[in-house]
C-alpha cells in the first residue's frame, strides 16, 4: 500500500491515497512508555477531550456543531502494546464531493479541535467537565465486576503480571483516580506535546497540499522522535492457579500462555500459525475437542497478544466440567508438539492471505495497516505474504516447545442447571 510522508515541525504526516471511498479518515497517534498512572490519566483524559472543546463548552453544543457538518465521527482513546501506549484521535467524515464544498476543511478543524483546542481555564480543564469524566471513569471500574467476562479478563491480566511494574488492580486504580485533580490532568495533557511522538495519517481522496496547510495551522508541539512499539519479553514460571467464585450460572475459564525466547520470524509469523491451529476458529484443536467432541462449551478460543508475548485461552463452561476442560486443553497443547498437519498449515495461510487481500476493501483497514507498519515492526503486505509462505509444519512444532502455561484462572459460577432461567 503506497503512502507519502511529509516531515512537519517535529512530527510526521502520512497521506494514504485511495479513490475507492466516499469518506476521508484522519488519525493522530501520540506515543509514550506505559505506566500505571499513565493508563489512568489517559482514560480520564480521553473523556475530558471528547466532551467539550474551547469553542463548544458542553457536549450538546459540540454534538450539534458536528451534526451540522454531516456528523464527522470522532473517537479518542488509547491502546497499550508491549512497553508502549498510544493515545489516539480517530476521525472520519464524508468527502465534500458528496456533501457541500468547504466541508473537508471544516470537518478536519472540528475533529482536531478535540485535542488542540480543549476547554481550559487557569491551567486546568474546566472543573465540571473534569468532575463528570472522573466520576464516569471510576464508575466504569466499579462496574467491571458486574460483567463476568470483563471481570475474568481483568483478573487474569493482574495475575499474569508481565509489565515492568506491578499492575494496579481495580481498587488501586480507583484509589489513585480519586486523587487526580483537574490541574494534574492538564499537566499530563501538556505532556502529550512534550514527551510523546506524534504521527498523523490521512486516508482517502484528498488534496495533500490543502490538507497539509490546514493541519500545519492547528498542530503545535515539540514532539519526541517517532519510534516502533517495543514488545515485552517474558520468562516461564511455575503454573499459577487461581479460583474465585461469582454469583452467575456459568463459569469463565481463562488460561494464559507465554511465548518464550521467540525469534523475530517466530514472533511475527510462526506464533500466528500456532495460535490459529490451537484456538483460532472452527477447525482449531480446542474447538474441535472441547466444543464439538465433548459439548462442554459454546465458545473456546485463543487470543494472541504478541507484543506481550502472550496468548489467552477463554471459554465459558459449567463449574463441574472445569477439571475435564483444563485436562483437554493441556492435551491439545501437548499435541501441538507432534500432531500438526500440512492441511492445518495451509488453512491458516489461506485465511491470512485473504485477510491481507481484503485490507483494501475498507478505508479503516487501509489506514490501520499503514499505521501498523509505521508504529510497529509490521512488514509490508508483500513481505508478509512471502514470509508466511516460508512457515513450515516443523517450525510450528518447534515453537510448541517455547510455549508455557503461565496462569489458569477460573471464575466459578453456581451451576444452577438452568433453574434460574425459566
Amino acid at each position: 500500500m503506497n503512502y507519502t510522508k511529509v516531515e512537519m515541525n517535529g512530527y510526521n504526516l502520512y497521506f494514504i491515497k485511495t479513490k475507492k471511498f466516499k469518506t476521508i479518515n484522519i488519525a493522530a497517534h501520540f506515543k509514550e512508555t506505559i505506566t500505571n498512572e499513565g493508563k489512568i490519566y489517559s482514560d480520564v483524559l480521553r473523556r475530558v477531550l471528547s466532551y467539550a472543546t474551547g469553542h463548544y463548552h458542553n457536549l450538546d453544543d459540540l454534538n450539534r456543531a458536528g451534526m451540522d457538518l454531516y456528523g464527522p465521527s470522532v473517537r479518542i482513546g488509547f491502546l497499550e502494546s508491549g512497553l508502549d501506549r498510544t493515545f489516539y484521535l480517530n476521525g472520519s467524515f464524508v468527502n465534500e464531493k458528496y456533501t457541500e464544498k468547504g466541508m473537508n476543511k471544516k470537518s478536519i478543524e472540528y475533529i482536531l479541535s478535540h485535542i488542540w483546542d480543549p476547554y481550559v481555564k487557569d491551567n486546568a480543564f474546566d472543573k465540571s467537565v473534569f468532575d463528570l469524566s472522573l466520576h464516569e471513569y471510576i464508575e466504569s471500574l466499579n462496574s467491571i465486576k458486574d460483567n463476568p467476562d470483563r471481570y475474568a479478563e481483568e483478573r487474569i491480566w493482574e495475575e499474569i503480571d508481565i509489565r515492568p511494574y506491578k499492575d494496579f488492580n481495580i481498587d488501586e486504580s480507583i484509589k489513585f483516580a480519586k486523587n487526580i485533580t483537574s490541574e494534574d490532568l492538564y499537566e499530563y495533557y501538556l505532556n502529550l506535546f512534550e514527551n510523546n511522538s506524534l504521527d498523523i495519517f490521512i486516508t482517502g481522496d484528498t488534496d495533500e497540499k490543502e490538507i497539509t496547510k490546514i493541519i500545519e495551522k492547528i498542530v503545535k508541539g515539540h514532539f519526541t522522535p517517532s519510534y516502533k512499539n517495543r514488545y515485552i519479553a517474558v520468562k516461564p514460571r511455575n503454573i499459577k492457579e487461581v479460583v474465585e467464585t461469582i454469583d452467575t450460572e456459568q463459569s469463565r475459564l481463562n488460561i494464559a500462555l507465554k511465548y518464550v525466547d521467540l525469534t523475530d520470524f517466530e514472533r511475527k509469523y510462526v506464533s500466528l500459525v500456532y495460535n490459529n491451529i490451537l484456538g483460532g476458529g472452527w477447525d482449531s484443536k480446542l474447538n474441535r475437542v472441547v466444543r464439538e467432541e465433548n459439548s462442554l462449551c459454546y465458545y473456546i478460543y485463543a487470543m494472541r497478544k504478541i507484543n506481550f508475548s502472550l496468548a489467552i485461552i477463554s471459554s465459558g463452561i459449567d463449574a463441574k466440567n472445569a477439571d475435564k476442560t483444563i485436562k483437554l486443553v493441556k492435551k491439545q497443547l501437548d499435541k501441538m508438539h507432534t500432531e500438526i498437519s500440512e492441511e492445518d498449515l495451509a488453512r491458516v495461510k489461506e485465511i491470512y492471505y485473504n485477510a491481507l487481500t481484503e485490507l483494501e476493501d475498507n478505508q479503516t483497514s487501509i489506514s490501520n495497516n499503514v499505521i501498523s507498519m509505521i508504529s510497529s515492526d509490521t512488514d509490508s503486505i508483500e513481505d508478509r505474504k512471502a514470509n508466511m509462505a516460508k512457515v513450515t509444519v516443523d517450525d510450528v512444532k518447534k515453537l510448541a516447545s517455547k510455549v508455557y502455561i503461565d496462569t489458569i484462572y477460573l471464575l466459578e459460577g453456581k451451576n444452577l442447571n438452568g433453574k434460574e432461567n425459566v
Binding site: 475507492k20 466516499k22 469518506t23 466532551y51 458542553n58 457536549l59 450538546d60 454534538n63 450539534r64 451534526m67 451540522d68 454531516y70 456528523g71 464524508v94 458528496y98 456533501t99 465540571s128 463528570l132 466520576h135 464516569e136 464508575e139 466504569s140 466499579n142 462496574s143 465486576k145 458486574d146 460483567n147 463476568p148 467476562d149 461469582i246 454469583d247 452467575t248 450460572e249 456459568q250 476458529g281 472452527w282 477447525d283 466444543r291 459439548s295 462442554l296 462449551c297 459454546y298 465459558g316 459449567d318 488453512r347 495461510k349 489461506e350 485465511i351 491470512y352 492471505y353 485473504n354 487481500t357 481484503e358 483494501e360 476493501d361 475498507n362 459460577g413 438452568g418 432461567n421 425459566v422
Partner: protein, 425 residues
C-alpha cells in the same frame, strides 16, 4: 434478470426470482471480497405452524429456530461446511433473530466453491437423535452466558413482560428446559416448511459477476427439483395494547442498577406508508433521546446516570417495540423522566433537519461497505418487501409537518419497567 439502480449511491442491483421462488439480489462493487447471505423468514417468533401437506398445527419449543440454525451445519456423509470455509480462508457465520435466520460468508477468492457451500448448508438437512443431543450441551452454555450478563437478563425480562401472547416475548435461543424438548422430527417439520427457496432471500454484494452467478445458482437448484408448496400458515395471535406486566425487579450481586423500559406502540391507526412511519419514529427518538437532545445533556450531567439512555426499536406484528436502557446508581425518577420526554411530543424544525442531514450521511457511509450494502438490501426486502431504490429521495422528502402528525397520533403510554439490582440496596 432485471437491473435496477440505487439512486445517488452509484450502485446497480440485479434482481432475479427463480422458478422455485428464491429471490436473488446481486450488487457488484469495486472491492476484492464477495459477501453472500441467504436468509429464511423463520425466526424465534414462530412457534406454531402447519407444515406442507399437513392440516394440523405443529408446536415447537422456544429456541427451535436458533437450534435449527446450529444443526444446519451437521451434514450426512461427512460433509463439513465449516471446514470448507476454513480451507478456503473464508469468513462465515450464521445468526437467528426473532424474525429470520441468516447464513453468510465473505472471501476474496473461490467464490463459486464458497457459494455452493452456502447453498449446501441450507438445502441438505441432517438431524439425528445423537447430533441433536450433542448440540443441546453447546446451546445450553450459550444460553447460560447470555443470562449471566445482567444487561441481557434485563432485556429478555423486558420483552417477556411487554407482550402477552406473541412469541416474540421469548429469548431467541430459548431456555435450558425448552431446548431439551427439541426432537429431529420437529426440526424436519420446521425445515421443510421454512427452508423452501420461496421463503428465502439470497443477497450477494462485492466482487461478483451477476450473469455468471445467476447461471450458477440456477444450475445448482435444477438438480434439487423443488416442488411448489402452499402458502405457509403460521399461528396468528391476538395481542392486547396493554403490556403483560408493568414492572419487575431482578436481584443480582451487582454494583450498579440496570434499567430497561420498553414501550409497546400500536401502529394500525396510522394512515401512511410503513417505511415513512418507521423513519419518522426513529427521527423523533433521535431528536428526543439522541446526542443533541436536552434529555441527553441532562443525563450526561447527572452523576447518578452512568451511561446515556440508549434506545432500540423493532416492529413486532401490529406494534413497535421501543426499548430504552441505561445504568444508574439509584433508580430515582429515571422511568418518569423517560416517560415525560417521550410523551412531550414537541420538537423543532431545526432539530428535525439536523437529524435528517445525518441520516443522509449514514446512507452514504453504508453504500461504500460490502457487508453494509448486503445487510441493507436483505433488511429492506424482508421488512418492506423490496429494495428501497429511492431511499435517498425518500429521505429528502421526509418533512417536519408530516413527522409531527405521525408522532401526535401515536400512543406512548403502554410500557414495562425492569430493574436489575443488588438485594437490599
Amino acid at each position: 434478470m432485471e437491473k435496477k439502480t440505487y439512486n445517488h449511491l452509484d450502485l446497480d442491483i440485479y434482481e432475479e426470482t427463480l422458478d422455485n421462488g428464491l429471490r436473488i439480489f446481486i450488487c457488484p462493487m469495486d472491492r476484492c471480497e464477495a459477501f453472500a447471505k441467504i436468509t429464511t423468514l423463520f425466526g424465534s417468533s414462530i412457534l406454531e405452524f402447519k407444515p406442507p401437506l399437513k392440516d394440523e398445527y405443529v408446536k415447537i419449543p422456544e429456541g427451535t429456530a436458533h437450534f435449527l440454525e446450529h444443526k444446519m451445519f451437521s451434514k450426512e456423509d461427512g460433509l463439513d461446511i465449516m471446514s470448507i470455509y476454513q480451507k478456503n480462508g473464508a469468513v462465515n457465520n450464521a445468526y437467528t433473530t426473532a424474525h429470520v435466520t441468516s447464513y453468510y460468508f465473505s472471501a476474496p477468492t473461490k467464490f463459486e466453491e464458497n457459494l455452493k457451500a452456502l447453498l449446501d448448508l441450507v438445502t441438505k438437512p441432517y438431524y439425528t437423535k445423537e447430533n441433536v443431543a450433542k448440540e443441546q450441551g453447546i446451546i445450553d452454555q450459550e444460553i447460560k452466558a447470555s443470562f449471566d450478563n445482567p444487561e441481557e437478563k434485563a432485556y429478555y425480562t423486558t420483552i417477556f413482560n411487554t407482550f402477552k401472547n406473541l412469541p416474540y416475548r421469548y429469548p431467541v435461543a430459548g431456555y435450558t428446559e425448552s431446548i431439551k424438548n427439541i426432537t429431529p422430527e420437529m426440526l424436519y417439520d420446521a425445515y421443510n416448511t421454512f427452508y423452501h427457496p420461496s421463503n428465502m432471500i439470497l443477497t450477494i454484494t462485492g466482487n461478483v459477476n451477476p450473469e455468471k452467478t445467476i447461471e450458477f445458482i440456477k444450475k445448482y437448484y435444477q438438480k434439487l427439483d423443488y416442488k411448489k408448496i402452499p402458502q405457509i400458515v403460521t399461528k396468528e395471535y391476538d395481542e392486547p395494547k396493554e403490556v403483560f406486566k408493568d414492572k419487575e425487579i431482578i436481584y443480582r450481586e451487582i454494583n450498579h442498577k440496570i434499567i430497561e423500559n420498553a414501550y409497546k406502540v400500536y401502529l394500525k391507526d396510522i394512515d401512511l406508508d410503513y417505511y415513512k412511519v418507521r423513519q419518522y419514529i426513529e427521527i423523533y427518538l433521535l431528536i428526543k433521546f439522541g446526542s443533541i437532545s436536552k434529555f441527553h445533556k441532562k443525563c450526561f450531567e447527572d452523576k447518578n446516570i452512568l451511561s446515556p439512555v440508549s434506545f432500540f426499536m423493532d416492529s413486532v406484528g401490529d406494534y413497535f417495540f421501543i426499548d430504552f436502557s441505561t445504568m444508574v446508581i439509584e433508580e430515582k425518577d429515571i422511568f418518569k423522566q423517560i416517560y415525560d420526554n417521550l410523551n412531550d411530543k414537541k420538537f423543532t424544525k431545526e432539530d428535525f433537519n439536523l437529524i435528517l442531514k445525518n441520516a443522509l450521511r449514514g446512507i452514504i457511509v453504508m453504500s461504500e461497505n460490502v457487508s453494509g450494502v448486503n445487510n441493507s438490501i436483505d433488511f429492506q426486502v424482508r421488512e418492506y418487501g423490496n429494495v428501497i431504490y429511492d431511499i435517498y429521495e425518500i429521505y429528502k422528502s421526509l418533512n417536519y409537518e408530516e413527522c409531527q402528525k405521525v408522532i401526535e397520533a401515536l400512543d406512548f403510554t403502554h410500557n414495562t419497567k425492569t430493574i436489575v439490582t443488588k438485594k437490599n440496596s
